[in-house]
């Protein structure tokens, strides 16, 4: 689904990503761990093609097509979608209209989609205007549910979400990925292979209680330094910190 080859990225004059290689096959969910400032969000913004992230070397291939210099909207139309951690407010644009924009003419029932995310009361409010952290996540997921991307980039989907809502967030992500996952007693298990892929940034790892991951990777100072089972990585980080991931990979 997604291949990243020897990717180097600068923001301003500073190199943020240093020779990143990554492959996410069809139907797989990968987790990206890393401390603050390691370049996780920069990688996601680069994959989506946002301005300010200058690719100086390497390439990004999505569904077999080189998208390294493709405009943002073309990547979205090709099937890439992103859940933003801190999306901007768009004054005067109602959430309902935004969801319809995401659907791009597809027949859908916005009310029903919103109801599933307990978000009906927000449809007639301006997009992200005075939304709490959890409301922003539900708004983002509602848009992605309408958009139905094949590859989902999720930037800290659990941050700012209260304990009651995090299961809802997890369920929605699983539905997006076409994965049937039951989360009981914090131990999810995969019931069926999904048809869509995901790259999930997490700082705390809490989301792993609600979604299943095929692989975990650690980004540290702009370079990937570990790739293995996501829950194992999380355990190591919790016990020994990120420095151990760097030391171990050396």
């Amino acid at each position: 689904m997604l291949e990243i080859e020897e990717l180097k990225v600068e923001v301003g004059d500073k190199e943020i990503l240093k020779n990143v290689n990554m492959e996410i096959p069809d139907g797989e969910t990968h987790i990206l761990f890393g401390p603050n400032g390691s370049g996780k969000t920069s990688l996601m913004m680069t994959l989506m093609g946002f301005s300010g992230y200058k690719v100086t070397h390497g390439k990004i291939v999505f569904k077999g097509e080189d998208i390294t210099y493709m405009p943002i909207h073309e990547r979205a139309r090709l099937g890439m979608g992103v859940l933003f951690q801190r999306p901007p407010t768009i004054n005067g644009l109602k959430t309902r209209s935004m969801v319809e924009i995401c659907g791009r003419g597809k027949a859908m029932d916005v009310e029903t989609l919103a109801k599933q995310l307990n978000f009906s009361d927000f449809l007639d409010r301006d997009v992200n205007h005075n939304f709490s952290g959890g409301e922003i996540k539900r708004c983002e997921l509602l848009q992605l549910t309408a958009q139905q991307p094949d590859m989902v980039l999720l930037d800290e989907p659990e941050s700012g979400v209260d304990l009651e809502s995090i299961a809802l967030v997890g369920d929605t992500i699983n539905a997006l990925l076409h994965r049937g996952v039951k989360h009981s007693k914090g131990k999810p298990h995969k019931e069926a292979n999904g048809t869509k892929s995901a790259l999930v940034i997490t700082h705390t790892g809490h989301i792993l209680d609600y979604i299943t991951a095929d692989r975990g990777q650690v980004l540290y100072s702009g370079a990937l330094c570990c790739s293995r089972n996501a829950r194992e990585i999380l355990k190591w980080i919790r016990e020994y910190g990120y420095e151990e991931c760097v030391r171990c990979s050396m």
Partner: protein
């Protein structure tokens, strides 16, 4: 009293001698369906529906002639100011009591060369089910329409007024001077929506003062999306009674050659009073000066001012927010931002599959789309259409 010291500098020179205060009389029209189509279209652009669907009354003045006037609701007086002067013996308690004729050359002109205006009064306890609509229309080339409007909402009444000002198509020159005095008495509410559709060479000088008593509410919406030569207005609202509230929304577009100096002042004179001024402006080559002035005179008042301006292409967008607190215990804030469209907003929409041009259009449409309380659906649909057309013109 509203005096000249309260006015912002008038940076646009107007020679009053260029305008004629005389105009021929126009015939009264009993049935609005008989209004000429070209005029009716202009009226609808400023919210005046000649089918009178969902309206509590209609007042239309063409040049200096009242051509239609009818109130459909008991307890609501609606008439020309000249008629009110004859019929309403207490009118002297209100006219020129808040605006002095000596304020400036425009107020002086309205006093010396009056050409009508409307009188609207809701009797105590009367709440209108539908909006009243009024239109002040200039049809004569070079005419100076100098009106004096008086609005009285008696105790516990409720008024909703949609007032449109417009000029005949292809009018090259004209001036509108509008003195407006509002009295919102104890527990009354007035929602006042004003839509302007002037010509590109028209000079407009409204002079408005509003007094709000205890528990009274004023909601004022002002929309000017079409080109206007020169517009300068700075209504002053005095919240004199405990718990009185004033809310101002304005949406302005200035294309090349337009000059809009638009602001509001609210003086919070009593405990528990609240005020909010929200202004949005887009310049595509013209000048917008967006003023806001909040004055807290006693403790326990709350006020907020928000001014956002977009500069598409070039032009001047100047935000002048001003807060004055005279005692401790006032809670006043402002937020002003001027600039181009935030690139993050454009790219956020693009990440949902929208190309850059459509993303910008969507943001501009949203920016102009201020929610206006109680706007009739038909007018809302019309405004949405005008916003959409304006946005296309800008692009």
């Amino acid at each position: 009293m509203f005096n000249v010291e309260n006015m912002p500098d008038n940076t646009c020179d107007i020679n009053l001698r260029d305008y004629d205060s005389e105009a021929k009389d126009h015939d009264y029209v009993d049935e609005l369906s008989r209004i000429e189509t070209k005029d009716a279209d202009k009226f609808l652009n400023v919210g005046v529906d000649t089918h009178e669907n969902g309206r509590a009354g209609t007042f239309i003045q063409k040049d200096k002639s009242v051509i239609h006037c009818k109130s459909c609701q008991d307890g609501v007086d609606l008439m020309g100011i000249s008629q009110a002067l004859e019929q309403y013996d207490r009118i002297g308690d209100y006219l020129w009591k808040n605006v002095s004729p000596d304020t400036d050359e425009f107020t002086n002109r309205a006093k010396e060369k009056p050409s009508g205006g409307y009188f609207i009064r809701a009797h105590a306890g009367v709440k209108v089910a539908h909006p009243l609509q009024s239109c002040l229309y200039i049809a004569k080339e070079g005419f100076s329409q100098n009106v004096h409007n008086l609005v009285i909402a008696e105790q516990d009444s409720e008024l909703h007024i949609i007032t449109g000002c417009a000029t005949a198509p292809h009018l090259m020159s004209g001036m509108h001077v509008g003195i407006s005095e509002f009295y919102i008495k104890k527990g009354a509410k007035v929602t006042f929506t004003m839509i302007h559709d002037w010509g590109e060479k028209i000079a407009v000088r409204p002079r408005t003062v509003i007094r709000v008593e205890e528990g009274g509410v004023l909601v004022s919406n002002y929309i000017s999306l079409k080109p206007v030569g020169s517009l300068q207005m700075f209504p002053a609202t005095y919240l004199d009674g405990k718990g009185a509230v004033a809310r101002f929304n304005s949406v302005l577009v200035a294309s090349k050659g337009c000059f809009l100096d638009v602001g509001s002042r609210v003086v919070l004179n009593a405990p528990g009073t609240r005020a909010e001024i929200i202004s949005r402006g887009i310049t595509t080559g013209g000048t917008i000066i967006a003023r806001g002035d909040l004055i807290g005179k006693v403790s326990g008042v709350k006020a907020h001012l928000e001014c956002k301006g977009l500069i598409l292409n070039d032009g001047l967008m100047q935000a002048i927010p001003q807060l004055s607190g005279y005692v401790p215990g006032v809670e006043m804030s402002h937020e002003a931002a001027v600039g181009k469209i935030d690139q993050r907003e454009i790219e956020y929409l693009m990440a949902r599959g929208v190309d850059e041009e459509e993303a910008i259009s969507t943001i501009v449409r949203g920016f102009l789309n201020v929610d206006i309380e109680g706007l009739p659906p038909k007018l809302k649909a019309k405004l949405d259409k005008i916003v959409s057309e304006t946005q296309k013109d800008m692009m």
